[in-house]
């Protein structure tokens, strides 16, 4: 830990052993009570029965598969799967919360980072840059609930001949049958992801845009002198230079997507095969009062996120070393 010695603390300033802890104490207490203790407790609960009074092994039923003390994890991992044969496992996996998470990760991360990157580059060349950017960015300021209402209205499936939802109005005016966007599997998950992309592209765009602006003008000019067109400059100059930022944005988005709850909860409630990990956990905890199962799902979620937590700390260490 050579970095620790590179502290910014002025050497002349000395304080007693107690003073720093007085400054830290309130924060440490609050964080211990509301983050650290619950973390440990959650792991404990995930090995218990539904209200934490006995071991999870006691919830096993005769003649059914049982993982003993890991019973809640068995439930969390396999309850959504149809175990008849390989085919049914495969098809049920893709509408389970895990399958959906993979869809979310693939489509939403690609969508937000891709559109954000393209827009950041395009908008760099026009005069009304600030206005255009704040329009893309605006959904970040509103709640997922508000966004859910906005998009539920776009996806609205009319009951009679009238389509008051924008998307179905477009579809019917083109001569097709209206579509129940939010209940048709697997279309509905894709439709929810669109909402996510709408909300988070501004975030990616802003970070990527400022990275693009930090590229010295001379490099772009030099490339242009060599006869590079806009597209070549984009793929061969700008993208490689901002690659580290792209990686940061992608990891941030991956974490955000894995924790995602509100959009699904508001728009479909996790019905019609749209459950994600967070909504499923919510259902187990609050609708079914199955604390053991709910916390097991939460622990699984953290295990998925863990590599990114480690990456975060590594990057922090690197930054500190460079200070």
């Amino acid at each position: 830990m050579a970095t620790a010695t590179k502290s910014p603390t002025p050497t002349v300033m000395r304080q007693g052993k107690v003073v720093p802890w007085l400054y830290l104490l309130p924060a440490l207490i609050v964080m211990t009570v509301f983050i650290l203790y619950p973390l440990v407790n959650t792991v404990g609960l995930s090995f218990s029965n539904k209200d934490g009074t006995a071991s999870a092994a006691t919830t096993c039923t005769e003649g059914q598969p049982c993982w003993g003390v890991f019973e809640n994890y068995r439930y969390a991992l396999t309850a959504e799967l149809d175990m008849k044969d390989t085919q049914s496992i495969w098809s049920s996996f893709w509408v389970s919360s895990y399958g959906n998470m993979i869809k979310w990760l693939l489509v939403m991360v690609t969508g937000t980072v891709g559109i954000g990157l393209i827009f950041a580059v395009l908008v760099d060349r026009i005069k009304q840059e600030a206005l255009a950017k704040s329009i893309i960015f605006m959904p970040m300021a509103i709640s997922f609930v508000g966004a859910g209402v906005i998009w539920k209205f776009v996806y609205n499936f009319g009951t009679s001949q009238v389509q008051t939802g924008l998307l179905n109005a477009i579809v019917t005016s083109l001569g097709f049958q209206p579509v129940a966007w939010l209940s048709k599997i697997p279309l509905n998950t894709l439709m929810l992801i669109v909402v996510g992309i709408w909300m988070w592209t501004g975030f990616c765009m802003t970070l990527l845009s400022s990275a693009i602006k930090s590229i010295p003008e001379e490099i772009i000019e030099a490339a242009r002198m060599d006869g590079a067109k806009n597209f070549d400059i984009f793929t061969r100059v700008q993208v490689p230079i901002i690659a580290p930022t792209i990686v940061v944005v992608i990891t941030t988005m991956v974490i955000n997507v894995m924790k995602l709850f509100d959009i699904v909860y508001v728009m479909t409630g996790g019905n019609f095969g749209t459950n994600v990990i967070a909504t499923r956990m919510y259902t187990e905890m609050y609708t079914n009062s199955q604390y053991g199962r709910g916390t097991a799902i939460a622990v699984i979620l953290v295990l998925f996120i863990l590599p990114f937590i480690v990456m975060n700390i590594r990057r922090f260490k690197k930054q500190e070393a460079e200070r």
Binding site: P8, P20, I135, F137, P139, A141, F144, V162, V266, V302
Partner: protein
């Protein structure tokens, strides 16, 4: 999470942006993306001002076409001008009904004008605080948000100062742990805290939410404030120290004023985050002290409320964040740069 390592602050302001290319393809591409981004919100806004009969029978994009829809929502006077006709096709009733929580078959204003007061209402300003309405939910949201924004910042300032300018054992390790805590999903902590609050008997009260948001907001708050504080020049501290100032004076007289921009960014962030949060309010407050996001999600999931109430309520809930966002965008973006969004 910090990305300043890849962005040179000086390069962010680049006045010498020599060429602003005017390229037709670029412009078309941008305009298409902008339309896709704007239209859903415009649809919501337009719909929220339309009478319920029209919302259910015609699309919002036909709002300016005065001749469609059921006769009841039309001005049938043959001499009526376009402007007169248009007037009957827009209304603020949706907002009045949403604010007061009116759920009858007509509108709140009709019901009150007819003399028969709607159930549980007084037809005066006190109806704005009706527990079912968005007016009351707005107040509740404010009560939740303001302390939940101030508390983590105050506690965080002290801790950030210690991390930035004091020397103590374990400083680096604790701070690295804190960086990791930023990405812990909120779901991991809900159940134990809920049980703890149940033991204390404060479930369904405002302090429960304040405490939870404070705990969860702290890692990010400390991280961001500490980054801002440690970028102050070392000499400042040394000369103040040689002049006889202690940590307390340096903290209050020098560091706090110089950290104001970072505090502003953080405040906006935490404010928006708490204001827009659904999960925490859902779990700890539920229907006892409904906040705006809770009321709306309730209206969405229960079949009772129609689009006219839902669109108005949704727009009401966006009003404050939008104002904050457009007025203080500079700080918002800066805050985002110095740490990724949590959740």
């Amino acid at each position: 999470m910090n990305i300043t390592g890849t962005i040179h602050p000086a390069a962010q302001k680049n006045p010498a942006k020599g060429r602003k290319l005017r390229n037709v393809g670029t412009t078309i591409g941008i305009v298409i993306i902008l339309i896709v981004w704007l239209v859903p919100t415009i649809g919501l806004l337009v719909t929220s001002f339309r009478p319920v009969a029209l919302i259910n029978t015609t699309g919002w994009w036909t709002a300016l076409d005065v001749n469609n829809g059921p006769a009841s929502s039309q001005n049938l006077d043959p001499d009526a001008t376009y402007g007169d006709k248009l007037k009957t096709r827009f209304t603020i009733d949706n907002y009045v009904d949403a604010l007061t929580g009116y759920r009858g078959s007509g509108t709140y204003r009709q019901a009150c004008a007819s003399g028969t007061k709607p159930l549980g209402m007084n037809c005066d300003l006190s109806d704005l605080l009706n527990p079912r309405g968005m007016g009351r939910a707005f107040v509740n949201s404010l009560i939740v948000t303001i302390p939940s924004t101030i508390l983590p910042i105050i506690i965080g300032l002290f801790a950030a100062y210690a991390f930035a300018w004091m020397d103590f054992k374990g400083r680096y390790v604790i701070f690295a742990l804190l960086v990791g805590l930023q990405v812990v999903p909120i779901q991991m902590t809900l159940v134990p805290v809920l049980r703890m609050f149940a033991g204390m008997g404060i479930n369904g009260t405002f302090p429960a939410v304040w405490l939870f948001h404070t705990g969860f907001g702290l890692p990010y708050a400390i991280y961001m404030l500490r980054n801002s504080m440690s970028s102050l020049p070392k000499e400042l501290f040394e000369s103040a120290y040689l002049d006889g100032a202690g940590h307390w004076q340096i903290f209050t007289k020098i560091v706090l004023p110089l950290t104001t921009p970072a505090i502003a960014s953080l405040a906006i962030f935490q404010f928006l985050w708490v204001w827009n949060d659904l999960l925490v309010s859902l779990v700890f407050l539920g229907g006892q002290k409904p906040v705006m996001t809770y009321q709306i999600s309730n209206m969405v999931t229960s079949l009772g409320a129609g689009w006219h109430l839902l669109t108005a309520a949704a727009f009401l809930s966006m009003l404050l964040p939008m104002i904050v966002f457009f007025a203080l965008q500079k700080y918002f973006v800066r805050g985002m740069m110095s740490g990724a969004v949590k959740g």
